[in-house]
Symmetry: C2
Subunit: 490 residues, 2 copies
């Protein structure tokens, strides 16, 4: 069978694009930079959403919904925020079309110009803090722990499916607190939710860390992040949690009467992950045959393919396949029987490999006689024949094993591609090879910028678990007290 994907070694970037399209995950739309998320891709996103939503609710958060549009003037209120978002936003200026008598078709009705332009939200801090102003009078109204599932728009010039699109789907949490400590605790708690989700569901090991001043969110005091390493040695920021201090409370004049009866500005956090996680999921585990999905997020965990030549064999194998499906479904496993008579088994095998279905079961006439079934693992591409009457114990255990194995593979890959580097020569060599570079940095944004200009590598984060260690900046030789993680990134 001809390979449907460009191989990773040949062209990693093309491999990714091929895979997203061929596995029916997403495609580009008629609108520049906006994607269509196809049913199979969306089914994975729904599983991501369901798990995260459960985790947010278990940590005391509730969902709500705020407007898509933000009045232009709101953006001017927080000085750094405007710098970050004004240059790449979709602006609504009119509210009506009319017939274009000259050129045909439709044109904007000039009489329907908005008094104040509206921005399609790139993120919702401003509209939400303008709303919180009315909700918060006293410490009794705090904390507010709200999350929103929404679409947002950032007018990116270079877009890539899932990784960077003009419109994307995400969740954005926006919380309000009495004290700085409580807000910081919330920021860290969510970082833990994100890293737990990444490691246990996406099966992607992540480094928890702090962004540098130049990489932090526009309007934040501190941005915490989780950083993952892709198979091509590039880093991907998989989630961020911001401690906003009192910046937005001051910009929108949100004060509360404290327990001591004083008027205080409210403390804030915001945090989000997006459909970008789909890109991370794809790139972290997949291979030249297609998608590799961790069982925890696979829309179909098991597919059963009947093998037959005669109509009698077709009936018999299909019946057995459906019986097996029913027994596995009772265990909470999602199973599909592909009993289409229009496609050959080999075609089906390739299709489910491409789509990353974790386990493929094949049952033929000999299996019917012997009470056996062939089980193929997507991650290792290995097969074994087992007894049918052991399926209800073997399959759940195997799915658990695969979830762990896929994580461990990614963990080992990262371990093998994380390098302690202490000289600039070594840095220059390593940065071309890819991977995480753990190196000393003098803490100066100018040095950070210089390194980026010279190597395209950025500081991904200052890891939270890095212990103090004296050293010299890898670029300037100036004193440094801890290592940071450099990498080229998505």
């Amino acid at each position: 069978m001809a390979k449907v994907l460009t191989s990773r070694s040949e062209n990693y970037s093309q491999w990714y694009n091929d895979l997203v399209i061929k596995a029916d995950l997403a495609e580009n739309s008629a609108v520049r930079g906006c994607m269509v998320i196809k049913p199979y891709g969306y089914a994975i996103w729904e599983k991501i959403q369901a798990e995260l939503d459960r985790m947010f609710k278990e940590t005391g958060h509730v969902n709500a919904y705020f407007p898509l549009f933000i009045p232009k003037s709101f953006f001017s209120r927080e000085a750094q925020h405007v710098e970050g978002f004004a240059k790449e936003c979709a602006v609504v200026t009119h509210y009506r079309l009319m017939k274009d008598e000259v050129n045909g078709g439709l044109k904007v009705d000039p009489s329907a110009k908005l008094e104040e332009e509206l921005i399609v939200r790139p993120t919702s801090e401003t509209i939400i803090w303008n709303t919180y102003k009315n909700w918060i009078q006293s410490y009794r109204d705090l904390p507010i722990l709200i999350n929103q599932w929404a679409n947002v728009v950032r007018w990116e010039m270079r877009t890539r499916l899932f990784l960077r699109t003009a419109e994307f789907l995400w969740q954005e949490g926006h919380t309000a607190h009495e004290t700085s400590d409580e807000a910081i605790e919330e920021t860290r708690k969510i970082l833990d939710v994100y890293s737990t989700f990444a490691e246990e569901f996406l099966a992607i090991p992540v480094i928890k860390g702090l962004k540098t001043e130049s990489e932090k969110f526009a309007g934040a005091i501190n941005t915490y992040c989780i950083e993952a390493l892709m198979q091509d040695g590039k880093a991907l920021q998989a989630g961020t949690s911001h401690f906003l201090g009192q910046n937005f409370a001051k910009a929108f004049d949100v004060k509360y009467a404290s327990r001591e009866g004083r008027e205080e500005y409210v403390w804030a956090t915001s945090w989000g992950v997006s459909t970008r996680l789909m890109g991370a999921l794809i790139m972290a585990h997949s291979d030249d045959n297609g998608l590799v999905l961790p069982p925890a997020l696979a829309p179909q965990q098991v597919v059963i393919v009947p093998i037959y030549k005669t109509p009698e064999e077709y009936t018999a194998t299909c019946n057995r396949a459906h019986a097996i499906k029913d027994s596995l479904k009772k265990l909470g496993i999602t199973v599909k029987v592909d009993d289409r008579d229009t496609h050959k088994p080999g075609w089906k095998f390739a299709e489910y490999e491409l789509k990353g279905v974790p386990l493929r079961l094949a049952i033929g006439p000999r299996d019917m006689e012997q009470g056996t079934i062939e089980v193929a693992r997507r991650d290792t591409l290995t097969k074994e024949v087992i007894a049918q009457d052991q399926l209800t114990t073997v399959i759940p255990a195997l799915l658990d094993t695969m979830q762990k194995d896929i994580f461990n593979k990614a963990f080992n890959f990262r371990a093998q591609n994380t390098f302690k580097v202490d000289t600039w020569e070594e840095f220059l060599i390593q940065v071309e090879k890819g991977g995480f570079i753990s190196a000393h940095w003098d803490g100066d944004p100018a040095t950070e910028k210089l390194i980026q200009e010279e190597t395209k590598a950025t500081i991904r984060c200052i890891p939270l678990d890095s212990s103090e260690e004296a050293g010299q900046c890898v670029r300037t030789g100036k004193p440094s007290f801890r290592r940071v993680i450099f990498a080229r990134s998505y």
Copy 2:
């Protein structure tokens, strides 16, 4: 305790607004016509979404996501569609803001004008059919049964929370079929899903019917709808399912190779319900004390309020309340214990009445001695004392009974407010009183328009279950073959 709501008899419209605000369901935002859906309102919407999503999936549909923006030119493709939506749409013309050196703040950057304006989707037929063109080559690619959960924007001039807002949340199904019959069957199947959902979950009886030519969706051949009657005698359209024929396939040139090897245009349906259902839910059942929620959609089905004077009583009643909560939770019932010591029981009672929690349990020192508990129903405002050890049988049964009783009450209200009217004099009197008017109509759009101008009543639908019956049009006296439903509406 002072009433927090305007009464329905005093001012129904103000009662509705008061209720939406005071029960913490939604509020107006800083953006004209756009609402903030607050956590309690959103929790109800999440329950609506979960049930509908399950029903769509059980009937073979999958979810996907299409772009928020639609190129302006797409709207000109389908002649009726453009008439319906061009006059009330948000238009994106630019993609960047810049500093306004003259006036301060920000202004649109004139150099960042889009080549073609983008419309914020008011509905997605055009962008979706433009996408389907690439997905459909042969009958093997059909049917496509896709649903999308999304936000949409229609620039309404007069808005009301949930009922009519510039931005609202909804689901929109878009299906593609080989034959006209199959598409019509799909349209009707979804109408059944909607009516089942309305009656079994929202507890609102609905009339299934067909819209007249002038009331149908812009671009449809036929629009089916479910129509509900609110307590003020006005009708509310609660969901629509459109048979689009080949209109959009022709507009976007979507053809398929048929089983007979011919090139044919694809047949289409679309269907949707929105956050408007929240308005229906509120108006159908609620009373002057606040929201009345059917148990099937209540975020909290049961609240337990401890009654105490001493710290010992507080501890004892709270402990018992939590034990009861745990036993009910095991039955899948959502329960909250309000053990706040900062609010009095009377305040809590009023609060949960306002928020429509179906069952309120109160447990005091005497109950502790006697093993009893007070159970109060929100719908009837009746109370009874029962034995604590019967709660796990009584409560589930009571929630089921309430769900049915709330539906029956609405059903009886509708029966009492549906009138067969055969003369114009009677029509004029009845229309002022409100309710559904079942009357003969000559089938002429001009008559329909005349009646609307004279009475503000519109034809809500031609009921599907109306049998043929000869009669004379209530307005013109011309021949008619079946009755239709008139009402003033939301």
